[in-house]
Structures are given as structure tokens and as C-alpha cells.
Subunit: 313 residues, 4 copies
């Protein structure tokens, strides 16, 4: 056997009726490029979710809820596979829109945006969202805001209050299962704009920007082991990883599904090796990056891992 | 229902034991971004493969055989799903390497390439290929070359001759099933270098660069309908599409799985809409591009489509 | 002249000694792909900066200060070309690090991150940052934090206070020139972590997450015309654009320099056409996206535009 | 000075009237990400072009001539900076189109391709090319083809014959300066389609696919030192690099300007380190990759390097 060469690449043979985990296993037997990394991510996610000592962080960036990926997140929460969620404000806005009964629609990226504007449609690549959803959102959220106590609250407390009013989706499931949801850039969303509108007339409740860091840092200080999945990069990735800078702890297992690339220097595309120089991932930690669109890689990752944990059913 | 808005995005719910086509169907119910496109590609591929009037072209670029994707291509050929294959020379070189019993190995992209060089290992991203494979390839291919007749031959005739000496893989399966394999840039591969070496001492056989165009153009002139799948872009994509420039025909269904992007102007990342301006795809034709790594998208596309055609088994 | 065809592409002829604007002009005469877009961006930026009625927003994302791009931002501020800056917390953290006399260093992406960790070096792609910079940052910033009044303050007020203590860099120049700096995800940075640390022992000052929206929204309501440049996407892009959702106004000119891509659905790579469906950019507005690394496109954009405004000197 | 940290990143200060080399020098003082790599590429190109022992290869891929980048290539040839050119067939087709007086036009990527088709316009991203250019090309090229001798010829000999009929552009300049032009995938272009058409009626001249390898391999065996610039990847990159596999020689300096990425495994995006494992680049060789659109990076690279060689003028 030549040096460095132990495991041969096996050619992938497609078979009708393969389950998703069978697909992933064959992809792992081929084992190269991002197909090989996706297999590695499933292996790591199975380990992460099977370890009773593991605190499981999840970071959600990119317009994932409009693309139907919110269902993956809420399912993982229901099953106990997420302990701490950090999200962009946009994903939570769209989650509420769906939870109050409005919809995103399948559209197209080949269109006239001026015409869409005139027809009161907002576009997110090939997803269409009617303006009326924002009108219903306003009714709902202004009611929630008006119910808030006259004292400073944290963003996660506000999100918890919202989630308690809802039946389905990410915020509802988080509230039901007592999972903290962090959203450091809350102002950077329609939820934030609505909060500004509310506060124009009712200036009593201050949203404490730093307030959530106490609980989050407590979690970071007290983990036995920490694992994380990042869908996209952005604020959720950095906010989650940076917690460890202040502790002796570090992440053990990290999976990132990203469409970015490392050579531009931004954190969203940064390799997980880079995170080791900072001590965010520990010396013996394992990080796996799958480059590609999370509307493909996230469903495959979640479905294959659930099959490993729960059997074929 | 607001204008332009008919079909709501459904949140994707992962379930243990889903088959690959069930996964794709749920991805299609979400239906956005590249996950939505991959569903669309499966829909189109099912139609393409079910149509008895369809001539099915397949273009293979990128280092796909070293990554285990050659098995998908040979399986599709065995099942009658490819009528004309165009490939880079590199994929065929690596196909022969596997067919004569050598292997590619799972390696890593985080390594010292000078050390690999000293250990006689060639790297293809995270795949390792020992030099000794090239020594065995030389023995095999020089034998084949020395058996050639003393007259000009086409590249596909040479590839057919090679395939007839092999039992497994793309060239073997093509030979067995009488599927033409085109490789316009044959010289741009180790097969070409070996041919040069051979011709240093045995100058009798000329490889006719244009010779294959006669058969290929005949095919293009005579198709009832034409469909194509492109894995990557490069020469195979253009060589396949350009045939229609000389005919009244055009492609009806085209699927491309690419990691490139349109804004750089190159054909590999060009949209299939662009191909309509040239008349390569017909006015009523449908083209679907899935951006991402084909080591993920190709296995999913093939497996889901086979499940649709053959049942779950 | 064939339909749709008015202006021929001119072949680019490189000449020794061209100024950057001469380069851009020749690029514009070629005029295709991202080279053509970069020329278009210079044209638009010249218009934007020459219009006395224009309020000029600037969004700064990606690890730009560690890569030396902070100097472009502070120079533009000095010259009156930025009225409102929105930044990630990381860029401001690194700006302070440079302003207090610490440095980022040229490193390499081909390295052993465990070894870097042991040598107290943090890596940002091919830039190295010694841990000791964070120790000096802590000294400086804890002093600033301890000087804060015992009442809720906004993030921009805090950043103004910091800038007033500094002589060079983005925050210093903003303070000197009375330019508001917004940083909605302040907690998502070492500045935020330090604030948390400070607040562990000194709980008096609340950072009001929504507080800055009042001034920013006032600006948005009162612009005669609005223009924006976005380096990267992320929170700064959305936070800037979303302000217009609440007003009758819209952006007229927008330039984005991004390494992201539209087909993944995320806002960072979204086209500026998409922003028109939302009304963030007006019907007659112009948006130009240059895809590529801003460490190349930003210096070219700024230098060529200054040459147009100030002459060759 | 902390370990690994010698050269601080300097913030880039834009100044009106900077020459392109002054811009590059300041970019080098910043020195990170692709801006830093572009500076490194200029440094390397200056060395490459200044070394009298250097044989200078150039590989041209991607739709560069339609985007006006052919002028850079012909200027470099005129100045003696290219000894061996390898190109895709498409770039040479478009070079001839320009040389016979037809034009590419500035268009837009936001358009209706069916409408373009009906108006006889072919689109290359945002470049438009009227069909009539192909009619004129046919007249010209069929004349050339009919002048060929009745014996097998190589592709480069054919390209030389074409270049001798032209006054401007890549092929004309190559012919005038006796620079060989290789085009291994000649059939994969309209030139190839025209050759097929010609050979339908005049079957006398065989195009020898392997013929050019003799001269090219001779060059590879006899270089004192070898340097290469690759615009894009594709066949030109591999065909150039693979020559060294058969020799004891290797490339010393290699620059690649690419929009591809390494993690997909394809050669176009492969790092130049990977080329060292194969021995294509020597152990002490230097390879620099600049990721981005060559319509930006190629003009900057050429202009800055010429300024270094020729002065500011």
C-alpha cells in the first residue's frame, strides 16, 4: 500500500429506493470533495446528538425560513437536538409570518421587480412574499409589544413572549421546549422596525442589548462539552463561537453548511481550522465544513442523522 | 390570493427513513433556491428518461471519477439512460486507472504537497493517487496503442478500442453498450501524453481531430428530441451544445450541475437561458441549473430519478 | 447596426503609467462582466459624491480592517463622502486595536492553527493578530466603559465616546467629523464581550438596542436623496436598506461590492433588483453590484472616484 | 515582536491620481486576501518577465475576448512577454471575429433570450454578438480552409495560417511574432464546426490532434526556466502544466487568475500547491492564485507590471 493511501475511493452506484442515510453512506464510500464532507458531517452530527454531555448550539443565517428550512430547525428542537438557538432577525420575522398563517410563495428570480413592487410582492431570490403578510405581522406584533412590562427586558425574553403566543414554528417550539433563542441583531429586521414604531408612542420598555450575554455566557462557562451546527455564517456563527473566548472551554464538534468561501477573509466563509487559532474550537475538536446551498445540505444532514438515531421506521 | 402567488412554500420536515425521492419531493414542496432547482432537475430528468423519442446526451467535466462519480455515469449507461457521452480526457484517464485495478484514495487537502511529491503521491483536492497507477496505466495503454491500425482514426474509435479491453467503468460500459464517447480535448490528458510518447517511436497512426464530428453532427441532425445533462461545464458542455448551431434542431431539456457562476462570463457558469439566445436550447425548451458540488447533486439526482423510474424496490 | 447593439466592446490595451481612473476608463470601454460593473460603480459613485442633495450611507462588513481597508473608510469620511456609517462590531474592534497602536500582521493561510494557538496568534485568513492586542484593548475599553453615565445609552453614543478617545481610524474620524456610526450587532464582537465583562461588576449602564433607530429613521425620513455603498452584505446592508421600508423614500444610487452570490437566497448576495421589489431602492434608482474581493474592488473604486473628483494632482 | 509577526498590515489610503502600480504597491502594503495576492502576482510577473532564461507560457480560458481582454494578450505578445500561448477555441473564434472587422457589443444580462434569438443576437453574459458576425466569419474561414495543403496538418499550423491573413488581434500578433498558439480542443468551437462543414465537401486535409505535442514537448524539455500565467483554468491550464509530467523540468513561477474554487475538486480551481504534488510546479517554485473576475485582475496585473518594466512614461 503506498504511503498515505489506506482507504480507496469507491465508485458511487445509484440504486432505486435508497434511503437518505444509505445515500450518505455510499457518498462516504466515495468520500471526496463536499460529498465526502457531507458524509463526515452526518457522522459528526450523529456523535454530537448521541452524547448526553453535549450542549448543542445551532446558528441560523441566510433566508432559510422563506425557503422552507425553518421546519428542519423546529423539528430538531422538538426532538431535543438543539439546546441554544441563535438566529438572524429576518429568519424569526419570517417564522412569525408563517406561524400567524401567512405564507411565502414559490416565485421566480427571472422577473420584473418594478412590476412586483407595483403588485405588492416582495422577492427573496425565487420566493415571493405579499406585503399583506407584513400588515398581519404588524397587528400581531404590536399587540405583543403592548403587553410588555415597563422595565428593561432582554431580546430573548421578548422572543420567548412572542413564541408563547404562537402554535407552530421556531419561536413556538422554542417556547414550548424552553430553548433560549438569541438574536443579537434584533434591530436589523422588521421585528426591530416594528419595535421602533411601537416605541415612538410607548417609550417605556428598553430592550437591553447586552442582557442576553449573562445567560449565554453562563451556559458557555458550564458546558461539559459543546457542539454547534451553523447554517450560513453571519452574526449567529460569530456570536456562538465568540462565547468561548472568555472561558476555558471550547467547542468539540462543529459543522458548518455555508455557501461562502475562505479566501475573502470574512467569518462566514472562514474555515473551522481558523477557529482553532482563536481557541473557539479546542485542540482536539473536529470541525467539518460543507460548501454549498443549505436548502440541499441541511435536509440531507438532518434526515440522514435522524435515520441513524431513530432507525428506518 | 395575491398576484403571482399560487403555491405556498411548505416547511421541510425531516423524517427518519425517507427515501431519496421522498427527500426530493419534500425539497420540492419547500421549493426555493438550489434545493428547489434540484427537485426541478429530478422532474425534468424523469421526463427526459421516460420519453422514447429523446436522444440523451451527457457531458462529464471536473475531476469526477477520482471522486467516485464515475459509477453514476456507468450505471446510467447500463440502464440505457445515456446515448452520447462527451468527457474530459482526465475523467477517462482516471476511469482506465480504476478499470485496470488501481485505486484513488481518500486523502486530505490539508497536507504538505512537497512531501506528497517525495512520496510519489499526486493530489486532487482531498483525493490521493499514487504514481504507480500511472506506471500500470502506461503498460496497459501502450499495448493498446501498439495494436492500432496504420491509418487515421478518430478519438472515439480509439476510446472504443480501449473500452473493449476493459471490464468495468465508463469506457467498458460504453463499449459494451455501443455508446459513443467523445473527448475533443484528448491531447489534454495523460492519455494524450502517452499517445505522444507512443508516436515518438511509432509514427503511423494519426488521430483525426475533426473525425468525430461527422457522426456527432449526424446524430444532431437526426434527433427527434434532444436532452442533455452536464456535470460541470468545460469542453463537454460546449461541444455538446454547439452541435445544434449547425442544425434546425435544438435541445428540449437540459440539466446542468455546476459550481461555477454566471457573472464571470465563462460558458461553464453560463445560464441555460443564455443558451436560448444562441438557439442551442429551443424556444420551448427547459433548462435547469443546480449550483453546487456535483459530488452531492449528481448522486441525489440519479438516485431519486431511478426511484421514480423503477420504484422503491 | 443590429438591434440592441450600439456600443462595441473595445479591447483593453494596457499601458505603463496609467492612473487608476485611466485604467477604469479603459475597463469601461471594454465594459463586460465585473470589470464593466466596476467601471459602472465608479461612474455611479462620482455622481453620488457630486450631488449636494445626496445623503451618503456606507455599510462595512467582512474582516476589512484586518486587511487594511479601514484606511479607505476613514479617508472617505475625512473628505466628507460618508454621512452615516453602519459597521459590524468586528471591524470596529479591529479599528480600535489599530488606533491604540497595536497591529495586524501579514501571515499565511497555509499554517498549523494549533501551533498558532500555542503561540498566542489569532488568524483571519492570511492575517495574524497577536493575543496581546486584546490585552491592550481590554485596558483601553474597560477605562472607557467605566466612564459611562449611569443611564441607558445607545450603541452609537458609546461608539462616539470611544472615538473621542482615539486619534486615528474609523471611530476617531467619525467622532471628529460628527458622523454617526451604527453597529446593530454590537454584542457580536469583542467590544460586546468586554461590555458584558464590565457589566458583571458594574451593572449601571444599559445599552439600548433600539435607541439608535430614532436618529437613523429620522435621517431616512428626511433625506432629499439617498445613496449607499456596501462592502459585503450582512447586518450593515440590511440595516441600512430596511430603514426605507418605513418611509416614502428610497435609495437612488446603490453600489455593492460582494463576494456572495444571489442563488443562495441570502441578503448578502442578493441583487439590487431584488431590493426594488421591496421598495428599498426606488423605481428609477440604480444599483450596481461588483462581485469579487473588496480588498481589490474597494481600493480601485475609491481611488478612481477621488481622481475624478479631485483631479490627478 | 510576537512570533510569526514581522510585517504589519498598513491601512490603504486612496489618493487621487495614483498610477496602477502605486495602487498595487499600496495594496501590497495592506497585503491581505486577494488584494494581497494580486500584489504578489505583480511581483512574480515582474520577475518572470525580467528573467532572460524564462520561457513564458500563457493559458487563456473563459470568454475573455468578447469581454475585451484579448487586447491584453496581444499587447503582451507584441512586447515579447508570451512565448507559448494555449487558448480555448472560443477565444480564437472571437479574436478572428474582431480581426475581420466585426464587433461584440455591450449588452445586459437582464434580458429576454427568446427575443434576442428572434433578433439574431447571441448573448455572452452581458455581451451581445450579432449572428451576422458568424456569416462574415464563415466567408473568411472557408477561404482559409480551402487554401490548405492536402496533407495532415497540426492545429497550430492551421492557426498560424489564419493569423497570417489577419492584421490585428491575438492570432495576427502571434503570427507576426512567430509565437506558437496551441488549441487542443479546436473542434470545440465555431472554428471546429466550420472545419467540419468544410470537410464535408473537401475531405483532403486531416487535422492531426496529437501533432502539436511534438513541438510543445520539445519546448518543455528544453526550457531553462518556465513561467506561466493562467487566465481561467480549463484545457489551457492543464495542457500547459501537464507537459512537465514527461520531463525532469517543472514550472518555477505560476500565476493564476481564476473565479473557481478548490473545494469542488476541478483543475480550474485547484491550488498551485496541488500542482506541486504532481511535479508540475517544482519544489522551489512559487505559485500565486488570485480569485476573482479576470476582467478586473488581468488589466491590473498587466498594467502594473508594464509600469514596473517600462517606467511611468
Amino acid at each position: 500500500m503506498p504511503k498515505h493511501c489506506d482507504i480507496p475511493v469507491k465508485q458511487f452506484i445509484p440504486r432505486a429506493g435508497m434511503t437518505v442515510n444509505e445515500l450518505i453512506t455510499e457518498m462516504g464510500n466515495a468520500g471526496a470533495y463536499n460529498g465526502g464532507s457531507l458524509f463526515g458531517a452526518v457522522e459528526l452530527y450523529e456523535k454530537m446528538l448521541s452524547d448526553p454531555d453535549m450542549t448543542k448550539f445551532f446558528g441560523l443565517s441566510g433566508a432559510m425560513v422563506p425557503a422552507g428550512m425553518g421546519g428542519v430547525v423546529s423539528t430538531l428542537m422538538e426532538k431535543g437536538h438543539i439546546d441554544v438557538l441563535t438566529s438572524t432577525g429576518a429568519n424569526l420575522t419570517h417564522d412569525i409570518i408563517e406561524a400567524i398563517g401567512c405564507h411565502h410563495y414559490k416565485g421566480t428570480a427571472e422577473c420584473d421587480d418594478i412590476e412586483l413592487r407595483q403588485d405588492d410582492i416582495n422577492r427573496i431570490y425565487d420566493v415571493f412574499l405579499p406585503n399583506e403578510a407584513y400588515i398581519e405581522l404588524e397587528d400581531f406584533i404590536q399587540d405583543v409589544y403592548s403587553s410588555l412590562p415597563e422595565k428593561p427586558i432582554t431580546i430573548s425574553a421578548l422572543l420567548r413572549t412572542i413564541g408563547e403566543q404562537l402554535d407552530t414554528g421556531i419561536l413556538a417550539t422554542a417556547a414550548k421546549n424552553d430553548i433560549p433563542v438569541y438574536c443579537p441583531a434584533f434591530q436589523d429586521s422588521v421585528l426591530g422596525l416594528q419595535y421602533w414604531m411601537y416605541s415612538q408612542f410607548h417609550k417605556k420598555t428598553i430592550l437591553d442589548a447586552i442582557g442576553d450575554m449573562h445567560n449565554l455566557m453562563n451556559t458557555a462557562f458550564n458546558v461539559k462539552k459543546a457542539g454547534a451546527v451553523f447554517v450560513g455564517g453571519g452574526v449567529p456563527k460569530n456570536f456562538t463561537l465568540q462565547t468561548m473566548l472568555m472561558t476555558e472551554n471550547a467547542f468539540t464538534y462543529v459543522i458548518q453548511l455555508t455557501g461562502d468561501r475562505p479566501d475573502l477573509g470574512g467569518l462566514s466563509g472562514a474555515t473551522l481550522d481558523e477557529a482553532k487559532s482563536w481557541g473557539k474550537i479546542g485542540e482536539g475538536g473536529v470541525g467539518i465544513t460543507v460548501y454549498g446551498d443549505a436548502t440541499i445540505t441541511l435536509p440531507v444532514l438532518a434526515t440522514a442523522t435522524l435515520e441513524r438515531l431513530e432507525g428506518r421506521k
